[in-house]
Amino acid sequence: MEIKENLCTGCGRCIIVCPVQAIKIIDNKAVIDKNLCVECSICYRNAECPINAIKSRRLKWPRIIRNPFSDVIGTHKLTGIPGRGTEEMKTNDVTNRFRIDEYGVSIELGRPGVGTQLNNIELFTTKFSQIGVEYEPMSPVTAILSDDKVNIKDDIKDERVLSAIIELKIPKNKINQVLQVIREVEKEIDTVFSVGIVSRVMEDGSIPVIDILDQQGFKVNPNAKINIGLGRA
């Protein structure tokens, strides 16, 4: 994003809508901090700038990588769906992506609303490489991992995004190891992250993983996303 200095009147409307507080008034003009800006385009679409001083500029590599991880509009080339996630469990009744003997894990770095540098992904992938996990092939995060599935490609490591979702699945017996990684990274990381666990529901309606998480000291929120099984291939 760019704010045309010669047009800006310093009204501050763009400051209010920026989700990562990347815009400040300096000498009566709104100025975007290019390091903090995640290229989400929210100021461009929602600030209602009275003189259209906010411009969407063509981004170059590597900065362009910020956009698909931050801007909800537009479909990601790899996933084919809007936003930075995948279908994950939303279509599991059709795809059977998560089987009865597996759990899915989603770790969304930077959420809620703090943002993250892409190199924080490596804090997790380094430790997950010791466990052996299966990354979601359609995830935008998987697409930026190098072949060893540990490192982020060098030229984009320092890029800042609104959030990046590590999506993986594991056999049920690895859940405690993954939870241990979450506890370890929590102490090292310089941002926030939210964690989700995907599980099939048993025929009697029970969700046994809730007890396992509780035993490991993880409190499950009372609300969840629930696929009600009406889809079919």
Partner: protein, 174 residues
């Protein structure tokens, strides 16, 4: 949501998805994805304020048997009962374990209650403070402020009715 490479291969997949959108719209959602996006998005979302309405929609969707995946977000206990009453079972859940890491970077809990309604976090925390000030000074109504806060959320998942309640609390407590 249409499963890519499977449901979207149906010749009438878009028609099925739009039929779901029409059913949801008929039940007066507090917010919903704008109609212009129904023709292109693989997912259509709507937000409701009570489980009884969600149960009625689920009943209709079951009867129409469109074969498209339906996901409900809300309290697990309520959804479990609601789908059971219409003869369905939950298939897969995405449980939330909450937030970890440097939580000192987060705004207040009440602010987060509003900003996290948009899963893509398109509503900023400072916009909450801004509209609370405007409401207190009588420059905008609570209802209009909630609509303004919902605007960046293009998915229509932002719960406007709940935002009005939270804004009222924030206005009265500060």
């Amino acid at each position: 949501m249409l499963a890519a490479g499977i449901n979207d291969k149906y010749p009438d997949s878009r028609k099925r998805l739009i039929r779901i959108a029409e059913i949801m719209k008929k039940h007066n959602p507090t917010n919903m994805m704008m109609e212009a996006a129904w023709k292109i998005s693989p997912v259509i979302t709507a937000t409701f304020t009570d489980i009884e309405t969600v149960k009625q929609i689920t009943q209709t969707l079951k009867e129409e048997d469109l074969g498209v995946s339906i996901v409900i977000s809300g309290l697990i206990s309520e959804i479990k009962d609601a789908v059971k009453k219409v003869g369905l079972n939950m298939h897969t859940v995405h449980l939330s374990l909450g937030t970890f890491g440097k939580k000192e970077l987060l705004p207040s809990k009440k602010t987060l209650e509003i900003t996290t309604m948009c899963g893509h976090h398109c509503t900023s925390s400072q916009s909450i403070e801004y509209y609370v000030k405007l409401i207190k000074s009588g420059k905008i109504s609570v209802e209009k402020a909630a609509e303004k806060l919902a605007k960046p959320c293009v998915c229509g998942i932002f719960n406007i009715s709940r935002t009005i309640k939270i804004l009222n609390k924030l206005v009265n407590q500060s």
